[in-house]
């Protein structure tokens, strides 16, 4: 179980690296914004898996805070984009 969790964490890390490179290459600036999504989901996944490999249950708290920050900043970002568009400052 511990070994499997570690292997899956490594696999997710490889996925994250490949996806980050692909997103950073673009071609549009909207593609580059996908990187924010990747850290929110794959990043939390890696953290919880590492906590299951005996690196400390505190990593679950780190993952929880990361997901919470991703949610708050994501909603703030969506709301901001929204209001800027409504006021015509887009």
């Amino acid at each position: 179980m511990t070994t499997l969790a570690f292997l899956v964490a490594l696999f997710l890390l490889a996925n994250l690296v490949v996806a980050l490179i692909a997103a950073a290459r673009g071609p549009t600036s909207a593609d580059r914004m996908l990187m924010a999504l990747l850290f929110g989901t794959t990043g939390t996944g890696i953290l919880v898996l590492l906590s299951a490999t005996g690196m400390g249950t505190a990593l679950v708290d780190v993952a929880l805070v990361l997901a919470l920050l991703a949610a708050i900043s994501g909603i703030a970002f969506a709301k901001r984009a929204w209001q800027a568009e409504e006021n015509g400052h887009d």
Binding site: T57, D61, L64, A78
Partner: protein
């Protein structure tokens, strides 16, 4: 007001129990946190209609879990077949949900459902991006709209 205070207090107490992983020695600090959180939440987000209906929550969760599983499986299959399998395009949808929380909730959550992604919302029209214009994305969006309407207790 009293009912929302009790409900929110209970929710925050449950949250504390989960966050402290069921340990009993932190409840002194925990009670202070629960009281402070309930007070702040009533101050910052006073109860206003439409209210979430707790009785409709299990049904909505089942619908949501099933649909997000279907969405994940569908998009995974499409990813394996590559771009040749895609027939993407924009679709317009006129909304029946009232403005405010239900409508925003709908626009956001569509991105987690099979084949659809909310793109732009103005007045009562929502523009969707669909992965395959031959699939019945509109019907699924309508089903989600109805489920959210039940969750908020508003007729869509």
């Amino acid at each position: 007001m009293k009912r929302s205070l009790l409900l929110r207090g209970a929710a925050f107490a449950l949250l504390w129990w989960v966050l402290s992983e069921g340990r009993g020695d932190g409840w002194l600090l925990g009670s202070a946190a629960v009281i402070a959180a309930s007070w702040a939440s009533l101050k910052l987000a006073p109860p206003a209609p439409p209210h979430l209906r707790l009785t409709a929550l299990p049904g909505f969760l089942r619908f949501f879990l099933w649909q997000s599983l279907a969405g994940g499986v569908q998009v995974a299959a499409l990813a394996c077949r590559g771009r040749a399998a895609l027939r993407p395009g924009f679709v317009e949808l006129s909304l029946a949900l009232p403005p405010g929380a239900p409508r925003l909730f709908f626009a956001g959550i569509l991105g987690l459902m099979p084949g659809t992604l909310g793109v732009a919302l103005d007045d009562a029209r929502l523009r969707l991006h669909v992965l395959d214009t031959r699939l019945p994305a509109l019907a699924e969006a309508r089903a989600l709209e109805a489920a959210i309407g039940r969750l908020f207790g508003v007729a869509p």
